[in-house]
Every structure is written in structure tokens, then in C-alpha cells.
């Protein structure tokens, strides 16, 4: 009997006991009718070959382990960053359960969104009644300040007229006539979650900025910032606010989830907490400029804002020294304020940290995957530290993105062995990691399967991170964020050294105390 009340063991040890190993062996031998061991090993080896890679890269229809989700996830995330806002997803209800679970698993926080729960009858007759009843229920039950309406692929395929439906629901008194209910069409078969973020952001801004009777734009000196879909938004948005505070800039983060996804455990559940206020959102029309921290999350939004005569600027997930320099210089340019001395000190400290540690990073080869902007930001920072990005991969990456990555790689001698893989997935990356191995992988939790298969250590630095806790609380942007990223990378490298040298009497001559 393997179990013991004195020291209860769970699945991690339980199933390694001989009793269970016997169970598994019998099941496999008598009932599974699997393939012979040798055949499994042969095929496993074959999947690591150049031949397999060629086949893998020639597939046209099948996607395996992609680094992208669908539009509504990004739209829900964007909506949740506004004060008192309930995302209302018009379509079948299972989708919402999925978005809520996904975001909850990453942030370890409650995640609120409702669905109009469309079923077969709505598929035939349209979802108008679901909208009318649904908005009324959301309004009275959850008492939001705003309901942000978006679609799933189901509502899009049957062609529900979102704007018309909302007007209809208001006419039926589901919600008051003047109640804010911006909307966005977010079909899952177009783009990805980063597109959904863009659509919802534009939907919210245009709702307030183009509202009938809304005052004409009166330019002031404030700055808007749009973070984009960012798994580190809790840490990053707070870091941005600290930087603006040091500058003395009047800034508004549009869709600020930093408090929404970080409420205290103090005996009270807050359905709504934090977020960009609706007043701030309205007033953001008058800002001098809007800065996007992630270009690929905001093309339509920025183009809309530009048409409103605001200056716009875009970055690609700015990490590290150079990217933060550019961001701060843009702030100087836009506001005329000098870079605060405190930030100059922080810059020097980050440079100091890189200088102290560069020997462990210089010349190391990396694979980077994730959302398009993250890949660009990470690649830039790696090269700045003397690392070599070899494979840069994003399933949402376009041809334009490929060119942009290539241009970035070409800008540094450390990028000469690098290539970009827009539109490819993690099964493509698996082939690349076998035929052209790297020292480390940078990505999200899904990379743990790559780490297992290839034995290349994984550094988790982007969304989603399900199997490690609290990373999202630490910034990755700004000089302080750069320091966090540097430490994460270094910890993995130094742990890796120890793993490789810790066999007593065999490899431990390199098991150094001081590194």
C-alpha cells in the first residue's frame, strides 16, 4: 500500500510507486494495443530530423499549438480595464467560460464577463431577444457603470447587427438611453486576441469621443497611453504611472487593469475595482498625444486617434535600456519636460546590472515566441545584452512583422544568425529547436512541452503563465522592468549551470559557489 496517513503523497509520488507501475504495465500490455516501443522511438527520432522539419514546414492547413487566441479574449481584456465595466459577450456562452478561466489562471484573480447565452433558436432567429433580456439582467444584477458589448464567431456568422440590437434594447428599457454601451465586432475567424483588443479599444473611445453632443476637442497637455494585451499589465501599468509621476506628466492609461486584476484579500470581494474612469476616458479626447506600447495591438485605434488630430506614437513592448530610452525621449519630445534625474539613475543601475552579468548572457542563443510586439521587444533587449536571438516566432505575426523583425536583427551583429517566423506555431518551433538548437527558450507556459522534448530551458516572460505564480506583479517595462527581465533570464542560466554540474564526483568541479 503506497499511501500513508502520516505523510500523504499525491500524484507526484503516488504513481511512481511499484504498485502503480504494475497497473500501468498491465494496462499497456493487455488493453492498449499501442505501437511497439522501437517504433515509437524511431518515430520520435524522426520528428527531430531535417526531413521532418521540411514536412512540418510544408503544411498548409493544419495549425498545431499556436501562439494565439481569438479576438474576444483581447476585447474582454481591454473592456475590463475601464472603471465598473462588465464585458457582455454576444454569442454562445461557453466562450465566456473559456475567457474567464484563461485570464483567471494567469492572473490568479476573479474575472468577470457575461454572455448572452445564445443557443439553437438564436442561431435561427437571431440573438435580439438575448440582447434585450441579457442587457436588462446585467444592468440590474451587476450594476455596472458601462457594459462593453462584443461578439463571438457565432453572432458574426449569423450576422447579428450589434449596434441596432443595442438601440433596440435601449428602446425596450433594458438599459437607460444614456447608459454607456460601446460595442465591437470581434469575429474569432479574423486576426487574434491582439486584433480583439484593438477593436474594443476603438469601440470604447469612439463611443465617448463621437457621442452626440460631446464637446469638441480642446487640446491640452495630457498624454494617453494604451498598454495593449499584456500579461504583465499589473506590474507594467503601475511602473508607467510611477514614471509619469516622476516626470510630472498628466497621463491617462486607457484600459488600466493594474488594480482590476490585483485586488486585496481583506474579506471583501470587489466585483469592480480600479480601471480607467469614464470621465478620464471622455477627457482623453483632449490629450496632446496617445502612445501605444504595443503597435500590433492598436493599428485601428491609433489611426482613429490620429484622425482626431492627436499626435500618436507606437512602440513594440519596450524592454531594456534602448527601448526605454526611446520611450522616455518620446515623452520629452511630446511634453517638453526633461527626463527626471531619478530615472537617469535607474538607467545607470540597469546598465550596471547588465555589465555585471553580461558574461553569462553574451553569445548565448535564444528562441523567442509570443505576441508580435513582445517578440520585437524581447529580441531587441536580448541583442542589447549580447545575446543572439536565433528563432523569433509568432503565430499572429504578419509579413510586415517578418520584415520588421528581420530589420531589427540586421541592425546588430548579434542578430546575424536570427530569422523570423510569422504565422508559424509551436510545432514548427519544435522542429527548429531540434535542427538548429538554441541555449534558452523565452515564451509562456505552453513552452514547457518544448522544454521537455528538447531539454532546452524555458524562461517564462509573457502571457499566459499558468504554472508559475505572481510574475505579472513585476514590471518588464522601463529600467526597473528591464532589471526584472534580466534577473529572470540570469536565474535560469545560473540554475542551468548548477543542474549541469551537480553530480558529485563527476561534474562538480564546475559546481562553483561564486559565479
Amino acid at each position: 500500500m503506497p499511501q500513508n496517513p502520516e505523510k500523504v503523497i499525491d500524484h507526484m509520488e503516488l504513481f511512481r510507486q511499484p504498485e502503480y507501475k504494475d497497473v500501468f504495465a498491465r494496462k499497456q500490455a493487455e488493453f492498449e494495443y499501442g505501437h511497439p516501443k522501437e517504433e515509437v522511438s524511431r518515430v520520435a527520432e524522426w520528428t527531430k530530423s531535417e526531413e521532418y522539419k521540411a514536412k512540418n514546414f510544408s503544411r498548409e492547413a493544419l495549425t498545431i499549438n499556436p501562439t494565439k487566441a481569438c479576438q474576444p479574449l483581447g476585447a474582454v481584456f481591454a473592456a475590463q480595464g475601464f472603471e465598473g465595466t462588465m464585458p457582455f459577450v454576444h454569442g454562445s456562452q461557453g466562450c465566456v467560460a473559456y475567457y474567464r478561466s484563461h485570464l483567471t489562471r494567469h492572473f490568479k484573480e476573479p474575472n468577470s464577463a457575461v454572455s448572452s447565452s445564445m443557443t439553437e433558436d438564436a442561431a435561427v432567429f437571431g440573438g435580439l431577444n438575448n440582447m434585450i433580456d441579457g442587457l436588462a439582467n446585467t444592468y440590474s444584477l451587476y450594476q455596472p457603470k458601462m457594459i462593453a458589448v462584443l461578439t463571438t464567431c457565432m453572432a458574426e456568422v449569423i450576422g447579428d447587427d450589434l449596434q441596432g440590437f443595442i438601440v433596440n434594447a435601449k428602446n425596450k428599457d433594458s438599459i437607460p438611453q444614456d447608459f454607456p454601451a460601446p460595442h465591437a465586432h470581434t469575429p474569432a475567424f479574423v486576426g487574434s486576441h491582439v486584433t480583439g483588443y484593438d477593436n474594443m479599444m476603438k469601440g470604447v473611445l469612439s463611443y465617448f469621443w463621437d457621442a452626440e453632443g460631446s464637446p469638441a476637442r480642446e487640446a491640452n497637455d495630457s498624454i494617453n497611453v494604451i498598454g495593449g494585451f499584456d500579461g504583465y499589465a499589473v506590474g507594467n501599468n503601475r511602473e508607467l504611472k510611477r514614471i509619469f509621476g516622476l516626470f510630472g506628466i498628466d497621463a491617462t492609461i486607457l484600459s488600466d487593469v493594474s488594480d482590476v486584476f490585483d485586488t486585496p484579500t481583506d474579506g471583501q470581494f470587489r466585483l469592480y475595482d480600479g480601471g480607467t474612469t469614464l470621465e478620464q476616458t471622455k477627457a482623453a479626447k483632449n490629450a496632446k498625444a496617445t502612445i501605444s506600447m504595443q503597435e500590433y495591438c492598436t493599428p485601428q485605434t491609433l489611426s482613429y486617434i490620429k484622425d482626431k488630430d492627436q499626435a500618436v506614437a507606437k512602440f513594440n513592448y519596450p524592454m531594456g535600456v534602448g527601448a526605454t530610452d526611446e520611450f522616455l525621449l518620446k515623452l520629452v519630445e511630446l511634453t517638453g519636460k526633461p527626463v527626471p534625474a531619478e530615472l537617469t539613475l535607474e538607467r545607470g543601475r540597469l546598465v550596471d546590472a547588465i555589465a555585471d552579468s553580461h558574461t553569462h548572457i553574451h553569445g548565448k542563443r535564444f528562441a523567442v515566441y509570443g505576441d508580435p510586439d513582445f517578440c520585437l521587444g524581447m529580441t531587441k533587449f536580448l541583442m542589447e545584452m549580447g545575446a543572439e536571438p536565433v528563432h523569433v516566432l509568432s503565430t499572429s505575426g504578419s509579413k510586415k512583422w517578418d520584415k520588421q523583425v528581420q530589420k531589427l536583427l540586421d541592425s546588430s551583429p548579434f542578430g546575424k544568425s536570427g530569422a523570423s517566423y510569422g504565422g508559424k506555431d509551436l510545432w514548427h518551433l519544435r522542429s527548429l529547436l531540434f535542427t538548429d538548437p538554441v541555449d534558452y527558450i523565452i515564451g509562456n507556459s505552453y513552452g514547457k512541452y518544448l522544454e521537455r522534448d528538447t531539454k532546452i530551458p524555458l524562461i517564462r516572460l509573457t502571457y499566459p503563465i499558468f504554472d508559475r505564480h505572481h510574475h505579472h506583479r513585476y514590471p518588464t517595462w522601463g529600467y526597473q522592468g528591464g532589471l526584472n527581465v534580466l534577473v529572470r533570464i540570469l536565474d535560469k542560466i545560473l540554475d542551468d549551470y548548477d543542474q549541469k554540474t551537480n553530480i558529485a564526483g563527476e561534474t562538480d568541479y564546475s559546481f562553483d559557489l561564486i559565479r
Binding site: M1, Q3, E6, V8, D10, H11, L14, F15, F24, R26, K27, E30, F31, E32, Y33, G34, A44, T47, K55, R59, A61, T63, I64, N65, P66, A69, Q71, P72, L73, S92, Q93, G94, C95, A97, Y98, S101, P110, V114, S115, S116, S117, M118, T119, G134, L135, A136, N137, L141, Y142, C153, M154, A188, F189, V190, T265, G267, F269, W427, R430, D453
Partner: protein, 481 residues
């Protein structure tokens, strides 16, 4: 009935009324039918079930796709399950349920991977059948050891009228492996429950009716199956070991750690043993009608139910098996005694409120009782009337029952009834922890487990203790607040 009982029931009814006040009238009337108080007379907990969720609320339910791909088909390890349609459904259901399996992922097993036809706008406009055919070809080329394929259709597939059955038939003939088209579009039905049913029907129509049991399979009089165990955290293994110990042969596991061959050989079983009745009673009933195989619902949560189930299972066989069952129950008694001696003093009298799917709102009740705990509220995400009928056996009079509870109702019920533990899913977990309530996630065992069988009961007890008695819950109020 005692006056105190009557009073407490009245208080619960007042609470229900108060919570329902927040709804507009139409929805209040609809929701009222789903919330009740367990009475001695009621045969079905007195609540309505398996009807549409009201729109615009946070229902905890999923969809038919989740029921088919996420629960029934997904865990079959030696097949590849295509999430056919846009990228999201497969992405969100990728690796989320901890259906443990043994195999080389990407080579002869694919349980923790995400395969999709990643529909684009042009696929919606022109149809996706051609692309699906190509997806299947590419799977067959890149994964030559795959034993079969299933097509899990997402919302748009049914709406645009693709003929996935024709693609399945043609491609199956071409590649010589079973291909199963599953019409589990998320808009079908009212929850994941219809997805279970649809998936069961496709096993009937596309596996039983189209494939044969393995020719060299030699049956014995002791052949049984485990049906409706998804091997979350290894549950089916900690169940299987007990069945083997009493002398039975488990010829198939459905579907956690299961294989196509096990599905095909199932009709050779002498008895089908079903754990999650809701998700797989359909196929068990079918096998009873068509192959004359009896089925029995069993419960491997907690020692009382395990012993009762082992005896009931053994009673279907001969004296030898019955004697073995007694021996196995006796063998594990010291473990049970040890676990209860250690944990009962820490858990005695603690109140639990449950809200889960499948079988757990009733099956785990006695496991809590074994630890001296009390379940004061329970409900199902996607039960049907017969599940509630099965629940009265487990619940005490006066228990609050809530079907398809909304996030709003659940929060208010917990606030007012103030249990010592809430046991529900990931979407609920942090809501209650913020309130300072100990919580265990009862879909994926909060990344622990197994919870089935005797080995699992020890873990269950340990986990409930760690949830309730962790010192963090004394820190929620600042000393100056």
C-alpha cells in the same frame, strides 16, 4: 419536524427570496425554479434543471464543444482531436483539465496538444470541408502512429452547413483509420451536457458500428470497464488499482488515459462501471440494449462510499470476488482509520458549500461526511432531473440546492450562509478567497489529486485540511482595521 428545523428552512427561504430580488421580474421567475431547499418528500431536490441559462448573467456553464472535446473525446490519448473552426476553442481547452496519461506526446499520444483548422474569413465564406480534408492528410503524414482522428466542430461549422460527415467517411477510407465527426457546436443545447451526449452517440455510430473489437482479444468472466472517469490527477488509476485488487480486469478506461482499442473492446465487458453518470450514461444504456451488458453507477469518493461500491460491484460476480472485496476493504481500513484519526479532529463540524459539474455535487458529499464535515449547499452546473433524483440520497433535509447558479447568487449565498469551505471551480476560486473563505477547486482538484479511491481519499483529506486550516485566513483583517 422540529420547530428549529422549520425556522432554519424559513430563514433559507427568506435568503433565496432576498437574493432573487436583484433580478428583473422575468428573470426572477425563471431563476426561482432553479433554487430550492431539500425536503424529505422531494424526489428530485425540487429544482428545475437542464434548461437555458438566462442571458446577461455570469453562468458558470460551458458549451457542447467543451463537453465533447474537453471531456469525452479529448482524453482519448492515441487519437488526434481536431478543434475544427476558429482558433480559440482549442486554445482555451488546451491542457486545462489534467487528464493524465502515459505515452510519448507528439509521437504516440496527443493529449496535451492543440490541433486546429484555424478558420479564417475565407473558410467561413467558402466552407471548410476542403481544408478539413487537408488537415487530416497533414496529421496522417506528420503523426504516422496516430490511431484515429476526431473532428470537434465549433460554432461556425454547423451554421455554414459544412459536411464533416462526408469528409470523415472519405478520408477514413483513404487513410485506413477511424475518423469521427462530432457535431458539438457550442450553441447546441444549454450547457456542456449535450456535448457529452453527442460525443457518446458518435462513439456508438462511428466506433461501435464501424469498427470491430480486436480479433486476438481474449475475454474473461471478470472483465469490467471504468466509464466516465477522466483521470484528473490520476483518478482513474487510483480507482483501477482497487478493481484489479478485488480480482477484476479493467479492459477499458473511458476516457482518461483511454485508447481507441479500449473503446473498440468495450462491448466485450461483462459489466460497465460508470462513475460520472451524467457524461456517459448514454453509451452505457446503449451497450445494455444492444450488447446486453449491465451497467452500475459507483462512487469512489471517501471510504464509506468506496466500501459500499466495492461490495455492490463484487455482488455482481462470484464468491471469490466478494471475498476479495472484503479483504481489500479490510486491507485499506488502517489507512482509512489513520487518515480519519489525523484529519477528522481538524475538520469536524466544518460546513461546506459545493458547486461543480458532473457527479461531484453528490458523490463527494459522503467523503466530507466521512471527515465529520457537513454539506449545507450544493448544486450542479449542467445536471438533468435524474441527477437531482440521485442527489436526494446524499443530501440532508434543509440543504440549499441551486441549479446553474449565477455568480451573483453564489456569492450572496456564501456571504449569508458563511460556510467554512467553498468547493467549486477556477472561476469561483478567487472570488471567495478575496472574501476570506477557504476554497478548493473541485474540477481539477486544485492541481492536486487523485481524489478517487483510498489513496485519493488521503489526499482529499489532506487538501481540505490545508485549505481550511491554513493560517493565511487569520490575516485577512488588518489589526488596525
Amino acid at each position: 419536524m422540529s420547530l428549529a428545523n422549520e425556522e432554519s428552512k424559513q430563514a433559507t427561504q427568506d435568503l433565496i427570496n432576498e437574493v432573487l430580488e436583484a433580478y428583473p421580474e422575468k428573470s426572477r421567475k425563471r431563476r426561482a425554479k432553479h433554487i430550492g431547499i431539500q425536503t424529505a418528500e422531494a424526489k428530485d431536490c425540487d429544482v428545475k434543471s437542464n434548461v437555458k441559462s438566462i442571458p446577461g448573467v455570469m453562468t458558470i456553464r460551458g458549451c457542447a464543444y467543451a463537453g465533447s472535446k474537453g471531456v469525452v473525446w479529448g482524453p482519448i490519448k492515441d487519437m488526434i482531436h481536431i478543434s475544427h473552426g476558429p482558433v480559440g476553442c482549442g486554445y482555451y481547452s488546451w491542457s486545462g483539465r489534467r487528464n493524465y496519461y502515459i505515452g510519448v506526446t507528439g509521437v504516440d499520444s496527443w493529449g496535451t496538444m492543440h490541433f486546429t483548422s484555424d478558420f479564417q474569413e475565407k473558410d467561413i465564406v467558402f466552407g471548410g470541408d476542403k481544408k478539413l480534408g487537408k488537415v487530416i492528410d497533414e496529421i496522417n503524414e506528420l503523426f504516422p502512429l496516430v490511431n484515429g482522428i476526431s473532428i470537434q466542430s465549433e460554432c461556425p461549422i454547423g451554421l455554414i452547413g459544412d459536411d464533416i460527415e462526408a469528409v470523415a467517411r472519405n478520408k477514413s477510407a483513404e487513410i485506413g483509420k477511424p475518423i469521427v465527426p462530432v457535431r458539438c457546436e457550442g450553441f447546441r443545447g444549454v450547457s456542456q451536457s449535450l456535448g457529452h451526449h453527442i460525443a457518446n452517440d458518435t462513439i456508438r455510430d462511428w466506433i461501435f458500428d464501424k469498427t470491430e473489437p480486436k480479433a486476438d482479444f481474449e475475454g474473461t468472466p471478470y472483465d469490467v470497464t471504468i466509464i466516465g472517469d477522466y483521470n484528473i490527477g490520476g483518478d482513474a488509476w487510483s480507482s483501477r488499482i482497487l478493481l484489479e485488487e478485488i480480482g477484476l480486469r479493467v479492459i477499458a478506461q473511458w476516457s482518461g488515459d483511454g485508447t481507441l482499442a479500449e473503446l473498440e473492446n468495450t462491448p466485450k465487458a461483462k459489466v460497465n462501471l460508470i462513475h460520472c453518470y451524467r457524461s456517459m450514461n448514454y453509451i452505457a444504456r446503449h451497450m445494455e440494449e444492444k450488447f446486453n451488458i449491465p451497467w452500475m453507477e459507483y462512487n469512489f469518493f471517501g471510504p464509506s462510499q468506496i466500501a459500499e461500491s466495492l461490495r455492490k460491484i463484487a455482488a455482481l460476480f462470484d464468491d471469490k470476488i466478494q471475498a476479495n472485496a472484503e479483504a481489500v476493504i479490510a486491507k485499506y481500513q488502517p489507512l482509512v482509520d489513520g487518515v480519519i484519526a489525523k484529519y477528522k479532529p481538524r475538520l469536524e463540524g466544518k460546513k461546506v458549500m459545493l458547486y461543480v459539474g458532473g457527479l461531484r455535487p453528490r458523490h463527494v458529499v459522503d467523503a466530507y461526511h466521512d471527515l465529520g464535515m457537513e454539506v449545507t449547499g450544493t448544486g450542479y452546473e449542467f445536471a438533468h432531473n435524474d441527477d437531482y433524483q440521485r442527489t436526494t440520497h446524499y443530501t440532508k433535509e434543509g440543504t440549499l440546492i441551486y441549479d446553474d447558479v449565477t455568480a451573483y447568487e453564489f456569492e450572496k449565498f456564501v456571504e449569508k450562509l458563511d460556510p467554512d469551505l467553498v468547493a467549486s471551480g477556477i472561476k469561483e476560486k478567487y472570488v471567495f478567497q478575496k472574501m476570506g473563505k477557504p476554497f478548493r477547486q473541485m474540477h481539477s482538484w486544485d492541481y492536486s489529486g487523485p481524489y478517487h479511491g483510498y489513496d485519493g481519499f488521503a489526499i482529499f483529506a489532506r487538501d481540505m485540511d490545508m485549505a481550511i486550516n491554513n493560517p493565511v485566513w487569520n490575516l485577512t483583517k488588518a489589526p488596525w482595521a
